[in-house]
């Protein structure tokens, strides 16, 4: 990739070796709701799904208008990883920021990574500056997806724990735990 973000190689290798432990640390805080959501988010997607996702991760509930939640769910459901173009078409709803949106997307299609402050911080510690913004900026989320993709690609097999969780979550969860460290 010619536009590959410039990871700090030494930091990256040290990070990879810690992924199993960091992932468990991240997952420990949301294990119950995370596993519950994996097996309960089913088609047809109910409106209450977004409430369950927000509660599971301690996120504030967006101020939905009548019909806006349904159309948001439909739009996100129709996305196909790694495409994110359509998120710019979402009506603006107070509280439905990029981070909240990425949580929905992750449970609709598990390859989309959760975007949060700690994970951005984790990337920064690995040498890849990643802005944390609440604006639904598809360029930033696209950049974030590419950075996570590179980590998925480069992590050695012996650093990938055996779980029922997608590699996207393993890497992103580990990043979040890493970013949260002082």
């Amino acid at each position: 990739m010619d536009d590959a973000p410039g990871f700090d190689e030494a930091a990256l290798h040290a990070f990879f070796e810690r992924v199993p432990v960091l992932f468990r640390k991240a997952q420990a805080t949301v294990h119950e709701p995370y596993q519950f959501l994996l097996y309960h988010v089913e088609h047809p997607l109910a409106e209450s799904t977004t409430d369950a996702i927000e509660s599971g991760f301690g996120l504030a509930h967006p101020m939905w208008n009548p019909g806006s939640r349904r159309s948001a769910i439909e739009l996100l459901d129709h996305l196909r990883y790694p495409d994110i173009g359509a998120i710019a078409d979402l009506r603006s709803i107070a509280g439905m920021n990029l981070s909240v949106l990425s949580h929905y997307l992750h449970f609709f299609h598990h390859a989309y990574p959760i975007y949060d402050k700690a994970s951005c911080k984790g990337l920064e510690k690995l040498g890849v500056p990643m802005p944390y913004t609440l604006v639904r900026d598809r360029d930033i989320y696209g950049l974030y997806i590419r950075a996570i993709e590179e980590l998925k690609e480069r992590i050695p097999f012996w650093c990938v724990p055996e779980t029922n969780v997608y590699l996207t979550r393993i890497v992103q969860g580990a990043l979040a735990a890493y970013g949260a460290e002082a």
Partner: protein, 373 residues
């Protein structure tokens, strides 16, 4: 089935035949979503020099012409063929389960596992087509012709029907875990493109194993499927997984080690030399056995107090390969001395017709918890 396809002369030719195979299996490529079939090599994490055997310390071979002699080349061709055979077989075994998944995530997981197994088969065919000339093409073609449902896949586990979702979780936990062992042993190979194929495959296998072990813990936690039914499924599948390690005293695994093409499972951490090269299969099988005993201990943590725990059958029980074939051993490794016939004993410890009926009833209820304990 009538075989009409001609020998693929390029990898693109082979891809065309692979599409026919997918149609025959009934795998709709639209299900793949963003999943791409591609050959993936991780050369970054492969050691540059041969790790063990007679050529230890010399640079690894990057092209077939660098392989010192024909016997080694033949052995590599065989190892790659066998590995590829298991990959396509498991899709043939599992495809029918997609309509009966307990949850949407389970269905997606099975779908993803099947997609990844196809990619693994694709990877092996990429090696065969790229490095092994006409013989490689013959094998790559045959990989798409044998069929698990016809019972002519190369290894026992891969001709056994995975009848239901219990089998699926038992299979991914124990048979895919054998796969992890085979891949890790090949990751030390002197043939660099083979070694470099293993990293990306092993990363994907982590999800298969996690799905299996998690699924079994969810089943035990829910406590709907009777534990003896689960134990009988273990008794059926685990001996086939032991068989996958091959015979003890095998000369082919001895040569594979001498030539540096297939190592011990723990070759990277085990610094002691091999004392008995003829017992390499037993050595690796024993490491595998220790690992699955630990896995079953984890599953047992979810078993309700007072109920009998699940066990890993003894390595002598119900083997189809090696010195214990045809011998009469109990599941826990004692010489069988019961009343009646040994066949009756086997009938009581292997899955029964009644088990199928019990399972069919269980599958109508909540039979698997949403999350493991």
């Amino acid at each position: 089935m009538a075989v009409t396809a001609s020998l693929p002369s390029t990898f693109d030719d082979w891809i065309g035949q692979f599409g026919d195979w997918q149609r025959k299996v009934g795998f709709d490529t639209a299900w793949l979503g963003d999943y791409k079939f591609e050959a993936k090599y991780d050369f970054e994490n492969v050691k540059p020099t041969i790790e063990f055997g007679d050529y230890a310390g010399k640079p690894k071979w990057e092209r077939p012409l660098q392989i010192p002699h024909q016997n080694i080349r033949d052995a590599l061709l065989h190892l790659i063929t066998v590995q590829g055979d298991t990959e396509f077989a498991s899709v043939e075994q599992q495809r029918h389960l997609l309509t009966s998944a307990p949850t949407e995530y389970d269905r997606k997981s099975a779908l993803r596992i099947m997609a990844e197994e196809q990619r693994h088969g694709w990877q092996m065919c990429h090696l065969l087509m790229t490095y092994f000339g006409k013989e490689g093409a013959i094998e790559a073609k045959k990989l798409l012709e044998r069929n698990a449902n016809d019972g002519n896949r190369l290894l026992g586990s891969f001709n056994e029907p995975t009848k239901n979702w219990l089998d699926f979780f038992v299979f991914t936990q124990f048979v895919d875990r054998d796969g992890k062992y085979q891949l890790k042993m090949l990751s030390h190979s002197a043939f660099k493109p083979l070694a470099a194929s293993m990293g990306p495959m092993l990363k994907e296998e982590s999800f298969h194993l996690g799905t299996g072990s998690n699924g079994l813990r969810r089943i035990v936690k829910q406590d709907t499927i009777p534990l003896p039914v689960l134990q009988r499924a273990f008794n059926r599948w685990i001996p086939t997984a032991f068989d996958l390690f091959g015979k003890d005293g095998s000369t082919s695994s001895e040569w594979a080690y001498v030539w540096g093409i297939k190592g011990r499972y723990d070759e990277d951490t085990n610094t002691s030399p091999v004392t008995d090269k003829r017992m390499l299969n037993a050595y690796n099988r024993d490491l595998y056995r220790q690992e699955i005993v630990r896995e079953v201990e984890i599953i047992n943590k979810s078993v309700a107090p007072g109920k009998p725990k699940l066990i890993v059958p003894d390595g002598k029980f119900h083997r189809a390969i090696g010195e214990h074939v045809g011998q009469e051993w109990t599941v826990d490794g004692q010489p069988w001395k019961g009343k009646g016939s040994y066949a009756d004993y086997l009938g009581s410890v292997l899955p029964t017709k009644e088990d199928d009926a019990v399972l069919a009833e269980c599958f109508k209820q909540e039979w698997i918890a949403a999350k493991a304990a």
